[in-house]
């Protein structure tokens, strides 16, 4: 007695990779700009990064329709927060909002693998990494998406931030300078592009620091 399986799935995977690195006074958030479905490329310049607040940027890979819906929900919740509290949401607050938003769809999840990057209230870089249903933790760096398994071991080797669970506590942010971190991110993406078919075309890099936001684009292999 075989069970009939659904022919239609509400989900699709549009591929892509996202990375974020936290520094002492900066944060780098990056994502490639390729959007695919199956073996086809839908577009070569799709932004997976969205600004949630002045000091919070979210990069998400997975199913971009769910990502877009998630971005809209978070933006509107942020707008309401601003109306009610007359200030921008801090990055750790946004991090918890994202976690709750994801968990509210626990039984029909957003197929989005997110990385949230920004500056905390002390101006230090902070990166939060998520699973699809909202479990999150603050880390020194993170990669999500199809190229994550290729990039994470490289970042472990280059950055290996001490675990925030250690006692006596050690700072999780990387001692790298901003320029070195941006260069590291570019290296991550060019390596991931070599071996992951869903990563490539170009990488969009957002650098957040005390002076504001800067955006860089770097071309990647388009094959």
């Amino acid at each position: 007695m075989t069970k009939e399986h659904a022919n239609w799935s509400p989900y699709d995977n549009n591929g892509g990779t996202c990375v974020a690195i936290a520094g002492a006074d900066y944060c780098v958030i990056a994502a490639d700009t390729r959007m695919s479905t199956g073996y086809s490329i839908l577009t070569r310049d799709y932004s997976k990064i969205s600004k949630l607040a002045d000091k919070s940027f979210m990069a998400s890979s997975g199913f971009q329709a769910d990502v877009k819906a998630l971005q809209k929900v978070l933006s509107s919740r942020h707008l309401i927060y601003q109306h009610q509290h007359n200030k921008q949401m801090s990055c750790p607050a946004m991090a918890q909002l994202l976690s709750n938003t994801l968990y509210y769809k626990r039984f029909f999840p957003y197929y989005a693998f997110n990385v949230l990057g920004g500056l905390d209230s002390e101006g230090k870089g902070c990166v939060f990494t998520y699973d699809a249903v909202g479990s999150y933790e603050r880390v020194g760096y993170s990669a999500q998406g199809s190229g994550a398994t290729l990039i994470t071991p490289f970042l472990d080797n280059q950055l290996k931030s001490p675990s925030p669970l250690l006692l006596p506590a050690k700072d999780a942010v990387t001692p790298l300078s901003e320029a070195e971190a941006v260069d590291l991110v570019k290296t991550c993406f060019s390596s991931a592009t070599e071996r992951d078919i869903y990563t490539g075309d170009s990488v969009e890099i957002i650098i957040l620091n005390a002076n504001g936001v800067r955006r860089e684009t770097e071309q990647l292999r388009k094959d």
């Binding site: 309401i80 976690s99 197929y111 699809a132 479990s135 675990s163 925030p164 669970l165 250690l166 006692l167």
Partner: protein, 273 residues
């Protein structure tokens, strides 16, 4: 399908519209979206596969003369891939109660945070702290109402209340057990071995901490799904304190230091030709 949402309701009155987006997340009566599908179970099974997080783990807790000792590893694995080595598996519900995480990371994080909120509401409504018995029952009832829907939670609630130290095991099947010694997770058989052989009621705080640390270390040594940092917490009459957080790789060499090998024949550098 009518689900029990009492776990998410607050007693605060609604103001503004009934639109969920216009109210803050906890005032509105929440609705979990359910997909319109003829095969909810199959869909759930696939969704769970998609989000299958922290399964392998080792957590333990035991009561002794000076209170409750709680310890856990910090590895999250997705199949064979280690997705994180720094997961916080001991969740601070409030300053005198801890919860451990095993199973689905998001499920444990969300429901422990929710439990913390309900404990605080209890304090405000009753002008006294909630007991460990009460808190564990609140959690167990919520998890029971979601029984069969795919939540994965295997947690221990440890705290100190008017009756002294308290420890309960609560899981997503709806089970709730009172006890003095528990270990949960794929590494639990190894942890039980060390814990059972070293346990005495009259341990001092330092001895109990070392026992807990050792039990986690041995579980991470033999269980591939456990590793990272061994965290040890103590819950006493004044609340919990974190006693230690040690990388288990380093613990190995502190327990079993490498003796320098006796050199029998020493080679000299070859002269470059």
């Amino acid at each position: 399908m009518k689900l029990n949402f009492s776990g998410l309701e607050s007693s605060a009155p609604l103001y503004g519209g009934s639109n969920e987006l216009l109210c803050d997340g906890f005032s509105a009566a929440p609705s979990f979206d359910l997909p319109v599908t003829s095969d909810f179970d199959g869909f759930q099974k696939n969704s769970i596969q998609m989000v299958k997080p922290a399964k392998g783990t080792t957590t333990l807790a035991f009561i002794f003369k000076e209170g409750v000792m709680v310890a856990a590893d910090s590895r999250a694995s997705m199949g064979g891939y280690i997705s994180s080595q720094s997961v916080k598996k001991i969740i601070e519900i409030n300053p005198y109660m801890l919860g451990t995480m095993a199973g689905g990371a998001a499920d444990c994080q969300f429901w422990h945070r929710n439990l913390g909120i309900k404990c605080r509401l209890h304090e405000l409504a009753n002008k006294r702290r909630i007991s460990v018995t009460g808190a564990s029952k609140l959690l167990a009832n919520i998890l029971y109402s979601y029984r069969g829907m795919g939540l994965s939670v295997g947690t221990m609630i440890a705290g100190w209340d008017e009756k002294g130290p308290g420890l309960y095991y609560v899981d997503s099947e709806g089970g709730r057990l009172k006890g003095t010694k528990f270990s949960v997770g794929s590494g639990s058989p190894y942890a039980y071995g060390v814990l059972d052989s070293g346990y005495k009621y009259d341990l001092t705080v330092d001895e109990a901490a070392e026992l807990a640390r050792r039990a986690i270390y041995h579980a991470t040594f033999r269980d591939g799904a456990s590793g990272g940092v061994a965290s040890v917490y103590h819950v006493g009459p004044n609340g919990w304190t974190k006693l230690s957080g040690d990388d288990v790789g380093e613990l190995h060499y502190s327990y079993y230091p490498v003796e320098p090998a006796v050199v029998e024949q020493e080679m000299t550098e070859a002269v470059a030709a």
